[in-house]
Symmetry: C2
Subunit: 447 residues, 2 copies
């Protein structure tokens, strides 16, 4: 009579948990009906380390020279990195004192040790705040009605994010300011963005613009250090575009980004924070040397066990290059290019033929990471109104926000979490296979 | 850059303003972007009269004999009315003291006098509480961003409805109660119902069931005067089904309704309140004699000017029957059968051939009403993501709730409003033609 799938679907649809399918159809976002269970120790461990990673990224983002030097060798072979470096160099003289930083650090639980391993930190367009909050509400609605057995950990990401954003906008203290979200023209995940926009508009009574980078070039104006839209100063530019090569397809798009980067508005992120989030920088900052240089011994002690080793392709292990080792035992590695947004990594049998055809001069474009073999667990996934019970793995992301004035940190805080659950084997078939489904966590609280 | 239609559509989709199209596709509910303007005098006049009409209906619903006598002549020719009377007769002995009453009284502004004329009162399944609240929020979101010029009158129907419902459930004072919404199996307007359900669940921590009438017969049990679902007493049964012939297609559906009517739970509505909402009863209760019998002189003075005359087909005017007059001047009348839910009335050229073929013994199934010629106004309608500027008419409904213990009224209050706007001429073509679009009002407040 009360069908769990139908109840979950209607809750999702009624609460803005929507996406457009690739062919433009309106759908609920893929979701799980029951929370993913983690221990309190792992919960605490991930929150702490996500704050450390956010602060580490922020420290490195201030070392502009380091980031340019780190990425410069790639520019000849990667036009996208070259574009980012052009933008970075054009904004080297921007000495804006306030910086507001949003990130999401993703972890998976290792199936041998049951401890969290760090996957990556996202410093640009870390999305799903709205949908993540809603899926916890959805599961708690099901739990209250005994349609599932376990309550989800409350996850008020949106309200925490809006509060952080308000503090940042108040700090920069523009008179009669407006806000700008930079979006891709054909965004399928628009409802997640809208949930954030409406939450901001409820709380902050200021104009909220949505523009593509092209529109920024055409409609926004710089006067001195300040960006203006229709004669109102822009206090914050929040980028949900600009993280992939296609976002810079036109000269106007590049010009739009450069315009933003030359202004003192809060740029979320600025170009250097974006560069601090590449796989290349992650390889650098997660080295023992860098961790020891930038972090306290206590922070290193807590963070180090979560770090999965990363390698450059020409790193040597004994008398073999890591490229050769990855070709021999590809099941042990993930091959990552300098790209954000999912779908770019290579696994298993796809690695050897790719590496064998890769010219030496392009080795620097990739990093290898030890593959994390995640704990598997049963899950009910719901995709396009159909449900499927499968064996799944989950990735847990921790949202953070930080506000800095020069090197002084005003806050560095956790905003909430995101869980994405998918079938262990994307090849197993069925309607839900291949979809990363929004999920929540449940946590053993200490007695 | 900010496209009003796109902004309205995304707000609607993100806030649960959804419907399924007849072919099962997910769509935003048809809507208007700018509020319909009315004067404060008309606002006040309609609120007052809607409360009078609600209380008049409630008084008449207590006169069970009158309602059975009024409808008995129809039962031979109208199986649906016969079913309702069977249900009514089977519950004659139900002496439950508490009654909770929801209604919506609909008005249109007359184009000659600019004053409101009463169209009808809906005593069963008066829907759109959730969507009505949301469309006012939507228009105010647009207004705040200067995408429209006029703010909508706030319309917190859902929260007012939930508060009224909570008072009623507290009054009946069952231990550990649950709530039941009776729904049609293939409801396209399910999201409006869900918005109400979630608002109730947020406020009242009690199980909330959705069942068809068939499922009620199969799953609910009566013990003494109390209805139980899974051993919990049902404090309130809210009917969003049971108002049309198709809702009683199976013996179980009729049995389900009878089961409900034999219990002391709050029935929203009980069968007699449903009968008090038919066109036949409206013809009776809006007569001068009935108004004078049941209402105070002040109430009659305020209500009477809003009443459009209604007739039985065999009423005589001079030496002609109203049937003959309607055949000669059909443009002056609306022909209404005893049906709820829209789409049943006949207008203009459809009236004469229908009446000419109607057997004498079926005259009693219909009432005629003077056609209200509503004020027209320009409007931007948005249907399935396309907008159209047209000349439109609007119907304004006023939601009410009332709680009675025997004849003592605990409250009789307005909950908010609903505006539905549609093109003057449904034949004019275009994507928006023929759709009743959700709208809000703006009101001139007195200085």
């Amino acid at each position: 009579m009360l069908n769990r799938t139908a109840e979950a679907v209607d809750f999702a649809l009624t609460h803005g948990m929507l996406q457009y399918s690739p062919d433009g159809k309106l759908r609920h976002a893929p979701l799980c009906t029951s929370p993913y269970h983690i221990s309190y120790d792992n919960f605490h461990f991930m929150v702490q380390n996500s704050l450390t990673l956010q602060s580490l990224t922020q420290i490195i983002s201030m070392d502009k020279e380091l980031l340019i030097d780190l990425h410069a060798p790639l520019q000849q072979h990667d036009p996208f990195i070259a574009t980012l470096l052009d933008i970075a160099r054009s904004s080297l003289s921007n000495e804006s004192p306030w910086r507001f930083h949003l990130s999401r650090s993703d972890f998976m639980l290792d199936n041998k040790t049951s401890t969290p391993k760090f996957v990556e930190i996202n410093t640009i367009a870390a999305s799903f705040h709205g949908l993540a909050q809603m899926v916890a509400q959805l599961q708690n609605n099901l739990a209250r009605r005994n349609l599932i057995n376990t309550k989800a950990e409350e996850n008020p990401v949106l309200s925490h994010l809006v509060a952080a954003l308000e503090r940042a906008v108040n700090a920069i203290n523009y008179e009669n300011p407006c806000l700008l979200m930079v979006v891709q023209p054909d965004e399928r995940n628009v409802f997640d963005q809208r949930l954030l926009q409406y939450a901001v508009q409820e709380q902050l009574n200021m104009p909220f613009w949505r523009m593509s980078l092209d529109e920024v070039a055409q409609r926004a104006k710089r006067k001195g250090d300040t960006l203006y839209i229709e004669n109102q100063p822009v206090a914050m530019v929040y980028l949900r575009s600009g993280y992939g090569p296609n976002d810079y397809d036109t000269p106007d798009a590049v010009a739009g980004r450069i315009l933003i980067e030359q202004c003192h508005c809060l740029r979320v992120p600025d170009i250097f924070t974006q560069l601090a989030g590449t796989k290349l920088t992650q390889h650098y900052m997660c080295s023992n040397a860098a961790m020891k240089q930038y972090l306290s011994p206590e922070q290193v002690d807590l963070l180090a066990p979560s770090i999965a080793p990363m390698y450059r392709l020409d790193d040597m292990s004994g008398n073999k290059s890591m490229r050769d080792i990855a070709c021999l035992t590809p099941e042990c590695y993930v091959l990552k290019p300098q790209r954000e947004g999912g779908g770019h990594n290579l696994y298993y049998d796809d690695i050897p033929p790719f590496l064998e055809n890769l010219p030496l001069e392009q080795y620097s474009l990739y990093v290898l990471m030890d593959k994390i073999n995640a704990i598997t667990h049963p899950a009910e996934l719901v995709v396009n109104q159909h449900s499927q019970n499968i064996e799944a793995i989950s990735e847990i992301g921790w949202y953070g926000a930080a506000l800095y004035h020069d090197s002084q940190c005003y806050f560095n805080q956790n905003l909430g979490y995101l869980v994405r659950t998918k079938s262990v084997d994307s090849n197993e078939g069925g309607v839900c296979s291949g979809y990363a489904c929004l999920n929540a966590i449940s946590v053993d609280k200490p007695q």
